[in-house]
């Protein structure tokens, strides 16, 4: 993306590349990630209120819009208590890892064809690698807190995250197999028109749901939130964290939830493509706003579905969770992988929609 901007306005090359890179990273973090996480918290609480037949926050500002700002300020002003017997260096280090991995996964989200911070040629692979770092941060925070609850909670959370990473990695790999590339922008462009990933073959349809469910479990959300369940383990791995450190865990949970919705949109729902919308017919200056709008609409729709699931379904027990992962999702993912590979070989890589189009 930055290289395209440099071609357009060569005057910007007076500053070295890393200056603009840092500015764009900071802009993404402060202008998108933090406000988005805040607004997502507000929307979640309002939706939760609706589903539970009550009004959500409505005191701070009109309709409670400023609630998340009040919450952020409160957490900033709270005292930062580090337990005396806690492992101090690791205690401080754990939020850093979690924040780093949560923020760095935003680098490869294709908001638009040209609006992607780092158009790596191994985009999907990088995402899987970076989101695996969260489990490390969780274990470190559980261990460093010097608290039995935190240790057990951290280990359980890590076991959950790590088990559900197998279906996630398998579905992403199968999607890359079906769509023919690891580059995020190429993945979206392979779904131009109606050839969305989810309609490629029946196995991809199953795989979309496998991915969505496994990814929900990976960010410890919805029915799989054992690590944060108040009635189960007091607060799991973030019991001893207070104030801003706790806010970081909280923020990264919502940022990760958005990353999952964005990746689902990219791979299964066609990214910024709509059926019967040909980007060649649209003037170039309208491309970016239109693509960003379509992409964000799809991603936010999936996010709202995530919130809907969270406040509707009861929580899974730990052994039911592990059983679901290893005895249901992993076999399904493997079957879909082999099925998709077989379909690709039989039909020369053409999806269902492409075959239908070839019939007419």
């Amino acid at each position: 993306m930055l290289q395209d901007i440099f071609q357009y306005w060569p005057v910007l090359q007076t500053f070295p590349f890393w200056v603009w890179s840092t500015l764009s990273v900071l802009a993404l973090l402060f202008l998108f990630v933090f406000p988005f996480a805040g607004v997502a918290v507000y929307v979640e609480r309002k939706i939760a209120g609706d589903i539970q037949a009550r009004i959500g926050p409505n005191v701070v500002g009109p309709y409670g819009i400023l609630q998340w700002i009040a919450d952020a300020l409160k957490l900033l002003l709270k005292e930062d208590i580090i337990p005396k017997k806690a492992d101090r260096k690791l205690f401080i280090f754990a939020p850093m890892i979690i924040f780093m991995s949560g923020a760095a996964s935003f680098a490869v989200i294709p908001f638009s064809e040209n609006l992607i911070l780092a158009n790596l040629n191994i985009g999907i692979f990088y995402l899987i690698a970076i989101t695996s770092l969260v489990s490390m941060g969780v274990i470190i925070s559980g261990w460093a807190s010097n608290n039995k609850w935190s240790l057990l909670g951290g280990l359980r959370a890590a076991a959950q995250v790590v088990s559900f990473e197998i279906p996630v990695a398998l579905s992403l790999m199968t999607a890359a197999l079906a769509l023919g590339s690891l580059n995020m922008v190429d993945l979206v462009n392979a779904q131009a028109g109606m050839k969305w990933g989810i309609f490629h073959n029946p196995f991809m349809l199953i795989l979309a749901f496998v991915y969505y469910i496994s990814a929900l479990a990976e960010v410890n959300r919805t029915p799989f939130d054992i690590p944060e369940a108040e009635s189960e383990l007091v607060s799991g791995y973030n019991t001893e964290y207070s104030g801003m450190r706790f806010a970081i865990f909280f923020l990264i949970e919502y940022a990760d939830a958005f990353v999952i919705c964005a990746v689902s949109t990219t791979i299964f729902l066609g990214g910024w493509h709509l059926p019967f919308l040909n980007y060649a017919h649209i003037p170039p200056f309208l491309h970016i706003p239109l693509q960003v709008t379509i992409f964000m609409t799809k991603a936010c729709f999936l996010l709202v579905v995530m919130m809907w699931i969270r406040w509707t379904l009861p929580r899974y027990r730990v052994d039911q969770l592990m059983k679901l992962c290893w005895e249901v999702l992993v076999p399904f993912a493997f079957i879909c992988l082999l099925g998709t590979a077989l379909w690709m070989v039989l039909f020369q890589g053409k999806g269902f929609i492409e075959l239908l189009g070839g019939l007419f």
Binding site: N147, S163, L177, V345
Partner: protein, 131 residues
């Protein structure tokens, strides 16, 4: 193309630096009054008993091990996945070759998975031995 990794590297550095930054802003604003009771370990209001670095269930090790095996398998299959579509479209023989390779690789690991399932290693609670 490699210039993009500069952005990734900067992302990682900014990510690590952002946390102390946020806490630094707070340090000026928040109170700092460490108390004996505040900094003791939380154990639902009781006085904490014993060291907290307890021995944990061996089940976690088994899960980590299974994860390791399957993750390495996925990592090895990624290069095949990125080439697969091209190969299916190239010539009829090449697509089948790639598919058979993937099938054999996945098949060997599925045999191991089936063995682990049958032995009961995938259960969270170890099943009681039949007398």
């Amino acid at each position: 193309m490699f210039l993009e990794y500069t952005t990734i590297f900067i992302f990682l550095i900014v990510g690590i630096a952002m946390v102390p930054l946020m806490l630094l802003i707070g340090k000026i604003l928040r109170p700092h009054a460490p108390d004996d009771k505040k900094t003791s370990t939380y154990e639902c209001g009781e006085i904490p008993l014993g060291s907290s670095w307890i021995q944990f269930n061996l089940r976690f090790y088994v899960i980590a091990f299974l994860f390791l095996i399957f993750d390495v398998e996925v990592a090895f299959m990624f290069p095949v996945a990125s080439i697969f579509k091209q190969w299916t479209q190239a010539g009829f023989g090449q697509g089948w070759l790639a598919f058979i390779e993937v099938a054999i690789f996945v098949g060997i690991l599925l045999v191991g998975f089936a063995y682990a399932w049958h032995k009961g290693d995938l259960n969270w609670v170890r099943p009681k031995k039949k007398e």
